[in-house]
């Protein structure tokens, strides 16, 4: 008789425990799906240099290095680019191109790079200027070796965050190496 009085109390608590567990299981599924979506975005986002140009102004002697970084976001979440940075090295040939005495400068851009929506490709222009009569201009002249052709290496990073999850940040490396022709204007 006493057992019939006691059991329902523990059973009711047990049933409530099971109900809370079912809600928690739903929560776990939700967290797992969100985490997977974010992981997909972080893994699938790609950055590459779509265009690399060296332009010299004959009138002023200034050299403009224009780099176009393309970000491909195939995931369903938006990406906000908040910094792009690169370093450029030039040389006559490829043997010592990454040594520090071939460095001719770096370019960067901080905010206002916009948000790249899911499934969209976006280009970010970054550039820097080499003034005439500088060490970097001399290195560029050395690499040109009297003609309009040189070998260039550019490596950089693109930092981004997810607007929907402000604490999640990541970065993607990009690079370019090849023969470049200098344009004179």
């Amino acid at each position: 008789m006493s057992k019939t009085r006691k059991l329902p109390v523990t059973d009711v608590i047990g049933i409530l425990l099971v109900i809370v567990a079912l809600v928690s299981a739903g929560g776990l599924c939700y967290v797992a799906s969100e985490y997977t979506k974010i992981a997909d975005t972080l893994v699938s986002a790609e950055a590459e240099i779509s265009s690399f140009r060296i332009v010299q102004n004959n009138a002023t002697g200034e050299v403009f290095i224009n780099v176009m970084v393309t970000l491909n976001n195939p995931s369903s979440l938006d990406i906000e680019i908040y910094r792009v940075e690169y370093q450029t090295y030039v040389d006559r040939d490829t043997s010592t191109i990454t040594s520090f005495d071939r460095y001719i400068g770096s370019g960067s851009t901080n905010d206002n790079n916009g948000t790249v929506q899911g499934g969209i490709v976006r280009e970010v222009p970054v550039s820097h200027v080499i003034m005439s009569d500088t060490l970097y201009k001399d290195r560029l002249e050395y690499a040109l070796d009297g003609d309009d052709k040189l070998y260039a290496y550019t490596g950089g990073m693109l930092w981004f965050r997810l607007p929907d999850y402000p604490d999640v940040e990541s970065k993607i490396a990009f690079g370019f190496f090849g023969e470049v022709f200098v344009r004179y204007v």
Binding site: K6, I13, L17, V20, S24, A25, L28, S33, Y35, A39
Partner: protein, 197 residues
């Protein structure tokens, strides 16, 4: 076989799995707080095993004490498995091909070790308190009286058994002594018989 799948054991299994799921949910939301819009707070990370252990202790109050311990162990195993599965969900769902790729975002080993280390002692502590609480408040007074009567009956039965054993032992000793005396008489008898012959 039927004893193995008794209703109390099935209940214990369901309650342990449920408690483990609840604990895993709070652990995962705490470790993936940056990755979810829902964050119940870091304090629940430690409170949840104690609370679930407490409830497990209450619901297993009518069972043997060892069941509460088994329940907390099953709860820890369930929580650990669910935490691991959730943290490896990008790999399980095929988003990340390399399993170490998923570990880049969250330290999987650390999270699993943390779950094992914290869940078992905290839930065990909670279940002890839950059991104590249930025995003092939830369990019906008639049940307590019944248990007291049963305990005194058992004590009495043990006393009776002891007395019976004492009596039996005394009787056996007495019988042994009589047998020894008879044996002595039997040994003497044949020698007399030979002399007569």
């Amino acid at each position: 076989m039927s004893e193995m799948f008794s209703s109390s054991r099935i209940k214990l299994l369901i309650w342990s799995l449920s408690a483990g799921t609840i604990v895993a949910f709070f652990y995962v939301t705490n470790s993936l707080s940056s990755y979810t819009s829902f964050n119940p707070g870091a304090s629940l990370f430690l409170i949840s095993p104690i609370m679930c252990g407490l409830i497990l202790g209450i619901v297993t109050a009518d069972q043997e004490a060892v069941n509460a311990v088994i329940g907390t162990i099953m709860m820890m195993i369930t929580a650990t498995i669910l935490v691991a599965v959730t943290l490896l969900s990008p790999f399980i769902l095929g988003v990340v091909i390399d399993p170490t790729g998923a570990v880049v975002f969250v330290d999987l080993t650390k999270e699993i070790m943390l779950t094992i280390i914290t869940v078992l002692p905290l839930s065990l502590l909670g279940s002890v308190f839950g059991r104590m609480f249930a025995e003092n408040t939830i369990m019906a007074s008639t049940f307590k009286v019944e248990r007291q009567v049963l305990r005194s009956d058992t004590d009495e039965w043990y006393k009776m058994l002891e007395e019976k054993l004492e009596e039996k032992r005394a009787a056996l000793e007495k019988m042994e002594e009589e047998r020894r005396k008879r044996d002595l008489l039997n040994i003497e008898e044949p020698s007399e018989f030979q002399e007569q012959k």
